[in-house]
Assembly symmetry: C2
Amino acid sequence: MQTDLNKLIEQYRSELYDNVLPFWLENSIDNEFGGYFTCLDREGKVFDTDKFIWLQGREVWLLSMLYNNVEKRQEWLDAAVKGGEFLKKYGHDGDFNWYFSTTREGKPLVEPYNIFSYTFATMAFGQLAKATGNKEYEEIARKTWDRILSKTDNPKGKWNKLHPGTRPLKNFALPMILCNLVLEIQHLLDDSMLKTTTDAFLKEVMGDFMRPELGGLVVENVMQDGTLCDCFEGRHMNPGHAIEAMWFIMDLGKKLGRPELIEKAKDTALLMAEYGWDKEFGGIFYFMDLKGCPPQELEWDQKLWWVHIETLISMIKGYALTGDERCLRWFERIHDYTWEHFKDHEYREWFGYLNRRGEVLMPLKGGKWKGCFHVPRGLYQVWQTLEYIRSERPDLAAKMPEILKTV
Amino acid sequence: MQTDLNKLIEQYRSELYDNVLPFWLENSIDNEFGGYFTCLDREGKVFDTDKFIWLQGREVWLLSMLYNNVEKRQEWLDAAVKGGEFLKKYGHDGDFNWYFSTTREGKPLVEPYNIFSYTFATMAFGQLAKATGNKEYEEIARKTWDRILSKTDNPKGKWNKLHPGTRPLKNFALPMILCNLVLEIQHLLDDSMLKTTTDAFLKEVMGDFMRPELGGLVVENVMQDGTLCDCFEGRHMNPGHAIEAMWFIMDLGKKLGRPELIEKAKDTALLMAEYGWDKEFGGIFYFMDLKGCPPQELEWDQKLWWVHIETLISMIKGYALTGDERCLRWFERIHDYTWEHFKDHEYREWFGYLNRRGEVLMPLKGGKWKGCFHVPRGLYQVWQTLEYIRSERPDLAAKMPEILKTV
C-alpha cells in the first residue's frame, strides 16, 4: 500500500471518478425503458436485462448521494432521476410494497417478499428528494419507511416459510440496515421518531447479536428471547456483514456523540476481521459456522467484493475515530488484498466473486446482487475518511508511515 | 477401473453392504424420537438434529426398497419403519401436506412449500407398504400422490414468489421426478392412471425440455408455451439433473417396451455428460449457463456427489440396454473420478461436496441435502446393472475389456 497519504487519497478518488463511475454511467443506464441494467460482463456489456429493485434503488442512492455530498454534477443527477422515475412507476404495487424484480420494461417478476427492496428504495428516494427538492420523492421515502416499520415483526409477510411458533428467530440484517437508514433519511424524520427508532435498532444490534459469552462475536440469528440457538441459522456467521454494521454504528456514535459506541464498534470490527480471515489463502470468508460445523452455504469459502470493501471502510473509520493502530494495519492488509484481487487491471470496475484462492470465479462486473453500490460507496467512504484524517487529525496522519513500517 | 466384471460387481456390492449401509444404520437412527439424523460429520457423528423431510422419506425408501428387492433383512425393515412412523406422525399437517423440515422431536419448522417433500414421502410409503403389507402406509402413498397431482400447476402454492402472468415458466424437476415416481408406486396405481400420467410426464420431459434447436440439450426451465426464455432461469443448465432423468426414462422405456425411448435417453445422457465435463479439472460442473453468461449460483463450478453417481447409473444402464460403447467409456471415466475423489478412504461413506479442483470442500457425510440416498441407490443400481450384463448380456460382458483397453 501507498504510505504517502496524499497519494493514497488520490488513488481512491481517481478510482471512483475515472474508473468506476464512468463504467456505470456509460453501461448501466437504460435509455429506452428507464432504470438501470446491472447484469454487465467484464467489459460492461449487458448480458441480462431484468431489473432487481435492490440494485435499482442502490444506484439511485449512490448517484444522488454523490450529487448531494461531493459535487453538483448534472450527469449524476440526471442518471439518478432516470432510476428514480423507473422505481416510482414500476418498482412497487401502487401501495409502496416493493417488488424484488421486474422485467426490463417494468412488469413485476418477483413479488414484494424482500424487505431490503423497501430499505434501498427508502435510501434512494431520501437522497433523491434532497438532491431535487421534489416533494413526491420525499413522500415515497416517508411512506416506504412507514411500511418497513409496520413489517419488522414479519418482514417476509405471507411468503415466510417458517412455521409460526416452533423456533422464533430474529435476524441481524434488518436492524443493521436500519441503523444506516435512519442516518440516510434523518432529514425526513422528526426528532422523536429518529430517537426512538435509533435506540431500538442500536439495542438490537449491539445487544442481541453481539455475544459476550462468545467473546463479543456477532451472530446472524438469535431466538426472539435473545438466547443462542444451536441450529444451522443460529450457528451462521457472516463476518463481512458484522464488520459492515460496525461502520454504521461508528457513524451513529459520531452523530450521537457517544465515543463508547465507536470504541465498541471498532473493537468488534477488529474481532470479526480476525475471526473471518483465511489464514491459508488470505481474504475474509463469506460464511462460517460458529461451532466449525459444515455451513449450509456451499459458497462459504469464497471471497466477495463487498465483504472486503466494507472492511476497508470500517478499518479506516476505526483508525480515524479512535486512533487504534490495529485498524490501520488491518486497513493495509485488506487494501493490499482488495486492490490485488478484486480490481480488474484490464477493464474497468472490480470483480465481485473470487474462489477461496482469490482467483476470479465469475468475471462479471454486475449481476443480480452486484451493482453500482459497494465499490463506489467504499471508494467514496475511504477517500472521505482519509481526507478527514488529513484535515482534522494531522496527528494520526503523521503516525501512519511509522505504524505501517512495523507491519 | 477394474476391468474384471466379477470383481467390479463385487466392488459395488461390498461398498454398499460393508461400508455405506452400516454407516447409516449405525449413525442415523434416532432411537429416542424416531426418524433419522442426517447431519453427520466425516466420522458419522451428529452435528445437527433437525429433520429434513426429503431425507427422511428417501432413507425410508432406500431401506424398504433394498428389503423388497435384495434381501429380507429385518434390520433394514425395522429401520425403515422407524422413519415411516416418524413421517406418518410428524411429517405432514394431518392432511398430507408435507413439511420441509421439523425439529428432532417432530415439531414443524418449515412449511409445506416444497413439492419434493411430497414426492419423496410417496416413494417412501410406496415401498414401505410393499415391504410391510400395511394398508395405512399404502393409503398415505395414495393420498400424497393425489395431492401432488392437484399441485402440479403451482407446486409452491401460496409460497410462490413469482408474480402471476409476467413470465410463466415451467420447471424440469417435477415431471422428471414423476417419471421415476410412477414406476416406484406402479403397484398402487390402476392401469389407466399409470398410462395417463406416464404419457403426460414423458411428453414434458422429452418434449418441452429437450431442445432440438440446441442439438438436444436439456434445459431446466422453459416458458409454459414451450419456448425458450433468455433469462437467468431460462439459461440455467444442470447437467447432472438431466443425466439422472435419462436413467428414469431408460427404466420407463424398458417397462413400456419402447427401445426408441431408451436410445434417445442414452444419447441425451451422453450429450449432457460431454456438455457438463470440466475439461480443465475433470468432473461434471454443478450448474452452467446456456449462453456462457455468469450463472446466478455461486457454487456453479463445484463437483457434487449426486451428479457423478447419477451419471454412473445412466452410463452403465445405457451400455447394458443399448450396447453403446461410448457409455462404457464414460462409465469408466466417471467411475475413476468418483472413487478417487468422493469415496473417503479413511472413514466410511462418501464426501458430497468438492471444489472445482476436486478437493473436499466440506467433509460432511450427510447434511440438509445429502442423506442415505444417492450413494447407496447408485451402488445398488450399478451393482444390479452389472449383474444384468453378466447374466443377461454375456455378449456385452465379453466386449468390456476390449472397449476399455482402447480408451
